[in-house]
Amino acid sequence: MAFWNKGEKEDGVNLSLMQETKESPKATQETPKVGAERVSSWRKGLGERISGAFKKTAEIGGKLVSGFDRVAGKGLEGYDSAKAGVSRGAEAFTGGMDKIYNVDVPAWATEKAVGVATAAGETIGQVAKWGKEGLKTGAELGVGAAVVGYEGTKNTLSKAGDKGWEATQQVADWTAEGFGDSKQWVGAKYESLKGWAGERADGLRERGHQNHEKLKAGIERVSNWRKDTIAGFREKGAEALRNMAAKLSPEIQTQAAVIVAQVEGGERLKNELVAA
């Protein structure tokens, strides 16, 4: 944004063409300035055009800035989306934990353990009916069954816990992986866009800058031409103007030639008046 953001306008440029100079009149107080009003209006028009041209440049710079802002916003939006995905992953993680520990596995394990214990109790009751001798065996069987039931329940819960842990770990891995991929993907896209946009913007900016510098140099050159030509005219007359006119750009040579001829005509008339 080198020159668009600097607020450079007419700074540093000799805009004497646009100013109403007081340098010339050698005429008497009574002598009206033929055409002076027209030239003054013309200068004002030129000044307005130059001012408009600089404003146009500023507007173009503004478009670029807003374009960049939007792209930057897109990049941020992408990162925000990835972050939101992590939040959703975390919710899934929590939900998975609840499901594993509070619903499916504990109910199943408990049911199985209760089943084992019930079977053991029934066995004990049956054995009791068989008599005292059978009681001991029955009790041992019952205890053994209870132990088996307990161990089974414990193992089941342990396995369920392991599975739950694995599952939650997997969820966490997936979440991290998904976030990483998404972030990397958005980041790469954004960086690519930034690189592309930077190159294009640099090219446009350089072109605008060079044009801007050319205009400044042109204003300076024309201003100096005018100043030198008026000085030369005062010293050497129309001959100086003819020489200076040869330095003008080809685009205005034809129009300038008509004006130079009129100045020369005025010079001849003046000489005739002097001779008279």
């Binding site: 063409l17 010339s24 009149p25 050698k26 005429a27 002598t31 009206p32 300035k33 033929v34 055409g35 002076a36 013309w42 030129l46 055009r49 041209a53 146009k56 173009i60 478009k63 670029l64 960049f68 792209v71 897109k74 939006e77 989306s81 990835a82 959703r88 992953g89 997936w174 979440t175 998904g178 998404s182 993907w185 958005v186 866009l193 946009a197 294009r200 913007a201 050319k214 042109g218 204003i219 024309v222 030509t229 008026i230 005219f233 005062r234 103007l241 685009e251 205005i252 129009q255 004006i259 001829a261 009129q262 005509g265 005025g266 010079e267 001849r268 008339l269 003046k270 008046l273 008279a276």
Partner: protein
């Protein structure tokens, strides 16, 4: 030199019609053809010459501005294209894909 001779010289001179009218007016209203009138006529001719130099400088300046405006119009069009293309590319950062990727988790 009398007024008629002066007016004749003015009318046949290769100067702008505006200057001719001005000079002729000065001669017609002068009380006499004297050195004061002659000096006024010469000063008016000199002043017009300087105005004409200003006019040439103005033409040159207009040429510079025309070039500048043409070039800046091209730069402006380039910026419009660029911003439009940049917006399209920004839209191509398909956030929906990101959401889908994460939703797959």
């Amino acid at each position: 030199m009398d007024k008629q001779t002066l007016l004749s010289k003015i009318n046949t001179a290769n100067v702008s019609s505006e200057l001719k009218a001005k000079l002729a007016g000065m001669v017609s209203t002068a009380s006499a053809v004297d050195s004061v009138l002659m000096e006024s006529l010469k000063a008016t001719i000199d002043q017009e010459a300087e105005n004409q130099i200003d006019q040439i400088a103005g033409l040159e300046m207009q040429t510079e501005l025309d070039k500048y405006e043409k070039e800046m119009a091209e730069v402006g069009a380039g910026v419009d294209d660029f911003v439009s293309e940049m917006n399209k590319k920004a839209d191509q950062i398909d956030l929906e894909s990101v959401r889908n990727t994460i939703a797959g988790v």
